[in-house]
Amino acid sequence: MTENSKIKIAVASGKGGTGKTLVSTNLFWTAQNAGFPVTLVDCDAEEPNVAEFVSGDVLYTDTVTQNIPVINPELCVFCGKCFNYCNYNAIVYLPANHFIQVVEDLCHDCGACLVACKFDAITEKEKQLGTVKSMYLNSHAEIIEACADVGVYSPVPVIKKAIKEASDKVLAIFDSPPGISCPFIATVENADYVILVTEPTPFGLNDLKLSVETLQQLHKPFGVIVNRAGLGNREVYNWLQQNKIALLLEIPFDREIARIYSEGRLLAEEKPAYQLQFKQLLKAIEKSVKR
């Protein structure tokens, strides 16, 4: 890693449990162990697990909030304009009963009701959506964790905040949420390169195809890591070859690797051969991004 480069790598997969966190934590550990300044951002805000593997002293914890409208019954004339403006059914309006109420869980913080109200009857309050926590591993390595409160309508505002905190970092690695919906897009749209982690099974291949289709629409460069190689069949490899997609690395299925992962330990720390592979992978990605 050269001093002046700024690189953001997202580690993602359509299917859950393929090994995203295994890859992101090991890449992070390898980079910091080689003395490179690096930040790992846990963007899987519904189930953040990075801190089970790499953690440190908490530097700060920020809360992430959204605005929620508050309707003042003294000023409200029950005209219903805010109800009409709300596109999320977050306002219940019963004109005959002079009843109006905000359903906080449905509000997306768009501000339309505020614009709608001509009687200054709507103000806003803050509601917590989650937290962004910064952890200090050493002078050149930091972990930023996005954690959404259970059941919030979308983890995206929390993910965006965490990614923003890492915007000026030299090397940032994003541990993406599973799937290909909004939270995944919010993570990969800010990355220069995406590593997709899959496994050589029909489920793995099906979800890999969906992720690849989405990344191609976004014009993002990407490559694939096959985890638990040796299980399943050759279909994933055949498909990668047919579509000329780079196979970056294979991690074999091995009970010892499974055990190391299960206890929150790091493959790169315990097996120098993997450390070397992760280091080469980082260099290769840097080279391809800068080209």
Binding site: E46, E47, G111, V150, G151, V152, A258, R259
Partner: protein, 299 residues
């Protein structure tokens, strides 16, 4: 009606493989695949769809440049940072637009239209043991739980029409809205976990949700032999918290073999240890007639 949801928190613990086995143990079963973001159950159950519908997840703002004056008012009003002025031209990021409609309402020249995002779909079909309702969320859409609700409603409707009373729900990973939509109104929840620190941690987060909804919950430890020490920790924790562990399934490559052959493990190797254990879990949970009250308390 007996609605049973299978969840995990962490992905890849084996929700879908277990759902597939449960779905093929008895006839007259209705299955709802609520993991609409990365649906896989259809790969094993291979339903023949008799019904297909588009689903509108929301709207996206689109600018009519022939009338747009590039005044930039919409840029100021948008709270999703989806609109920006690029070289003096108003530009909307489709990815960031939340579909709130505010820009189209305040535009002085009425140059913003809202176009429905209707690329998501849901389906109903027949599979070898019954009927299946499933869906496909289009890439980049908000997984708000609305499509999950559609799948749930139609699975219920199918149950009423057929008179079959078991609905098996393959749930999504995580702890967000789609999970809440999958849990609401169910009778029982099965949390599939694995003996990893992450699996254990995420299981506890999902149990908070099922406890909030007063849904009776059971834990199944999959691949338990990959780390027996953590398996014991999970078992002790469940015992302390009065959550029944309905069974433990060993790591078994035959589950992957079954998947490759488009079968569930109980179809592929019915006499295997794994299949016997899964059948015993099924019987324990599906025949447990609320003999105990809701025992789980909020953590």
């Amino acid at each position: 009606m007996n609605e049973i949801v299978i969840l995990s928190g962490k992905g890849g613990t084996g929700k879908t493989s277990l759902s597939a086995a449960f779905a093929t143990l008895n006839n007259n079963t209705i299955v709802a695949d609520c993991d609409v973001d990365a649906a896989n159950l259809h790969l094993i159950l291979n339903p023949v769809n008799y019904f297909e519908r588009n689903f509108t997840t929301g709207h996206k703002a689109v600018i009519e440049y022939t009338t747009c004056t590039n005044c930039g008012l919409c840029v100021d009003y948008c709270r999703f940072d989806a609109i920006s002025l690029q070289n003096g031209k108003v530009t909307i990021s489709e990815v960031s637009c939340d579909g709130c409609k505010l820009c189209s309402r305040i535009c002085p020249s009425h140059s913003i239209q809202m176009i429905p995002s209707d690329k998501s779909r849901w389906y109903a079909g027949n599979y070898r043991n019954g009927k299946m309702v499933h869906a496909r969320l289009a890439p980049g859409e908000e997984n708000s739980g609305k499509l999950v609700n559609v799948v749930r409603e139609n699975a219920r409707k199918t149950a009423q029409e057929t008179g079959w009373d078991t609905v098996i729900i393959d749930g999504p990973p995580g702890t967000g809205c789609p999970v809440i939509s999958s849990v609401t109104g169910t009778n029982k929840a099965i949390i599939v976990t694995e003996p990893t620190n992450s699996g254990f941690h995420d299981m506890k987060r999902v149990l908070e949700i099922t406890a909030n909804f007063k849904v009776k919950s059971y834990v199944v430890i999959n691949k338990y032999d990959l780390n027996e020490a953590i398996t014991s920790k999970i078992e002790s924790w469940c015992e302390e918290n009065n959550i029944p562990v309905a069974g433990k399934i060993q790591f078994d490559e035959q589950i992957v073999e079954a998947m490759i052959n488009c079968q569930s493990i109980t179809e592929w190797k019915p006499e295997s240890e794994t299949s016997k254990e899964i059948t015993s879990i099924y019987n324990a949970i599906f025949n447990d007639q609320y003999s105990t009250a809701y025992r789980i308390t909020s953590q």
